[in-house]
Amino acid sequence: MVIFLDWFSVLLLMGAAAGLLVLRNWRWSLILLAAIYLGVFWLVSRHWPVGMAAVKLVTGWMAAAVLGISQMNAPAEDTFEPAWPEGRAFRLLVAGLAVAVTAAIAPAVTGWLGVVPAPAAWGGALLISLGVAHLGMTARPMRVALGLLTLLAGFETVYAFLEGSILVTALLAGINLGLALVGAYFIHAPEPEVET
């Protein structure tokens, strides 16, 4: 049952991170971000005490809340991406490619890092690859923050199995919140000029 839940978390992470890449509605984006942290919490709690793992969940949800509150008070988000193909189908294709890349490298990551179980390695690698894809496809500051949070969530999923220091956990929580605050700061700045 627990193994099933582990792999279900991986599916959740894949769906949420891919959805974050594909969808442009900010409410859906933040719900998906919150779902990512739920998956990360489950995978990390397999190795860490629940109390420590909950730090990831609470921090992640706080980050999503910070971005949500800022977005609520901001002018409507312009979803047009000036420099990239616009279509949802294209973003879906990129998400598919990122998942395919992960499928190719995740077994190697599992073998390489040894102590990291397969679901955590898969989940982490998925988030990292989809986060990088996200960063590569946007020039919107808010989405840059979302991409970086996704990428860091993936890194933290794997790194939790390698390093259990409380100080590192606290500093990573600070970095996540800092990124969310930077994202909030970006949201309140005017949107960049669109080059057509």
């Binding site: 390489w112 990292i128 960063l135 020039a139 500051p141 840059v144 991409g147 970086l148 990428l151 860091l152 890194f155 790194y159 390698l162 390093e163 220091s165 409380i166 100080l167 590192v168 606290a170 500093l171 990573l172 600070g174 970095i175 800092g178 990124l179 605050l181 930077v182 700061y185 970006f186 700045a189 005017p190 949107e191 960049p192 000029e193």
Partner: protein, 465 residues
């Protein structure tokens, strides 16, 4: 009382309080004076020694335990701390005259404290987390109110954040190498990850594009402060790796790699600078070359290399500060820094124009200026080790000189009948006069840095011995 409280927590608390001070002039003075006091304390206060003041006895301990790990600032770290806080004081105290004190004074002090924490944390690998926190803190500083985040700023945030996972992963692998040093595959994997992490963190070509972009998008004085502090901290972090791990320090390929990367940075910076038409971007390309120069100093692999690396920090900071301040003096009257917009401004802003040209020349190692003595020593050492690299250094330097000469030509190119006047404000004139004076004094009397050299050997346990 202990050292991390004095040099990390106190400035962080002070920065928080300074944020709420209304007068930007007072903010600048407070932040500058606190930094200077911390620099003086670092230079004079002995740690782990009982000091008696009348009936009071005081002992400053070296460690502070936080969440099961510790922050350690020992006597050996103090000269470096003195340099860092003294330079920060110089940057911050004149920030009001540069028109940037409102955010730079508190944020600059806090960022400096976080980067000092990065030098103090043990295990030292965690420094990358503190550097990332410092980077996040700089983002509001680098954004202009009412304007969107620029592409340079976004690239800066993305590339610097990407460095974090690479460095932390490689840190975990390094522990494995310590256990089985003969595992060559592991060594290779670790070296690749570590190399990628530092390539991003140090903004090595091709990840350096954000530097000139940021210098173009944001007020140059703020960008200059970041250009001085972050690469310095990243380089010191890299030195920590070299000092801690013998296999990195003793790898025969290390010098070759550092020389190649250093040469690429200097040549690319120099070539771009030679054809540049924007004062801010020109400073950015010079910063790229400076990072390369530091790597070349480290590539020497001996004590002289480490000494040159540390000694370069002072003239570099002075040159960058004067250059950025001079540009900011022009920026207050001419927001565009393109050559076409600042043409002939030497007639109205002669001191600022002199500051721009002389500071840029100082960073190329021009004789009689602050950068010359250290550069000259580096030239001599490099030429003895690798004439080819010295030739590339010459090529890059010529590009930077060309940029400085073109700047001079543009600044003085005013119609013949334009009269000479000085439109800089009084604080700007005083700052520029002092800066120019120190630039010449340091170039003429380099022996003044001798006391610093005498206290440096304890800074690293293994490097340069």
């Amino acid at each position: 009382m202990n050292a991390p409280v004095i040099w990390i927590l106190l400035p962080l608390a002070a920065a928080f309080l300074i944020w709420f001070v209304r007068s930007s002039n007072l903010q600048a003075w407070l932040a500058g004076c606190i930094s200077l006091a911390l620099a003086l304390l670092a230079w004079m206060l002995p740690l782990d020694t009982v000091l008696t003041l009348g009936s009071l006895s005081l002992k400053v301990a070296t460690t502070l335990d936080v969440l099961g790990r510790r922050f350690l600032l020992a006597n050996a770290d103090m000269p470096l701390l003195a340099i860092i806080y003294a330079t920060t004081a110089a940057w911050l105290v004149v920030s009001d005259a540069a028109g940037t004190a409102r955010r730079l004074a508190p944020v600059g002090l806090a960022v400096t404290a976080l980067l000092v924490a990065a030098q103090a944390v043990e295990p030292f690998l965690y420094a990358s987390l503190l550097i990332e926190l410092a980077i996040l803190l700089t983002i509001p500083l680098l954004m202009i109110k009412g304007k969107p985040a620029g592409r340079g700023l976004l690239r800066f945030l993305i590339l610097q954040t990407l460095a974090l996972p690479f460095i932390l992963f490689s840190g975990w692998l390094l522990a494995g190498i310590e256990a089985s040093p003969s595992d060559l595959v592991l060594v290779q994997q670790t070296a690749i990850l570590l190399g990628l992490g530092f390539t991003l963190l140090l903004s090595i070509f091709p990840f350096s594009s954000w530097i000139p972009m940021l210098a173009e998008e944001t007020p140059v004085y703020k960008a200059g402060f970041i250009f001085w502090l972050l690469p310095t901290s990243a380089l010191l972090f890299g030195l920590g790796f070299m000092d801690h791990y013998a296999w990195i320090r003793e790898a025969p390929e290390l010098a070759v790699i550092l020389q190649a990367i250093g040469a690429v940075m200097i040549v690319s910076g120099g070539v771009w600078a030679a054809f540049q038409r924007h004062l801010g971007r020109l400073l950015g390309f010079s910063v790229m070359a400076e990072i390369g120069l530091s790597l070349l100093a480290l590539s020497l692999g001996n004590q002289a290399g480490i000494e040159l690396f540390i000694l370069m920090l002072i003239p570099r900071s002075l040159g960058l500060a004067l250059w950025a301040f001079s540009i900011s003096a022009l920026e207050t009257v001419q927001p565009s820094l393109r050559f076409s917009a600042v043409k002939g401004m030497a007639r109205t802003h002669p001191l600022a124009s002199a500051g721009i040209v002389l500071a840029s020349l100082s960073l190329t190692g021009f004789p009689l200026l602050a950068g010359f003595p250290v550069r000259q020593a580096l030239w001599a050492q490099l030429a003895a080790q690798s004439p080819a690299i010295a030739a590339l250094l010459l090529a890059g330097t010529l590009g930077l000189v060309a940029g400085a000469v073109r700047t001079l030509a543009v600044l003085v190119a005013a119609p013949g009948r334009t009269t000479w006047e000085t439109r800089e404000t009084l604080p700007q004139r005083i700052t520029l006069g002092l800066g120019l004076g120190i630039l010449f004094l340091m170039g003429s009397f380099p022996q003044w840095t001798a006391p610093l050299l005498a206290r440096l050997p304890g800074l690293f346990e293994h490097l340069g011995r």
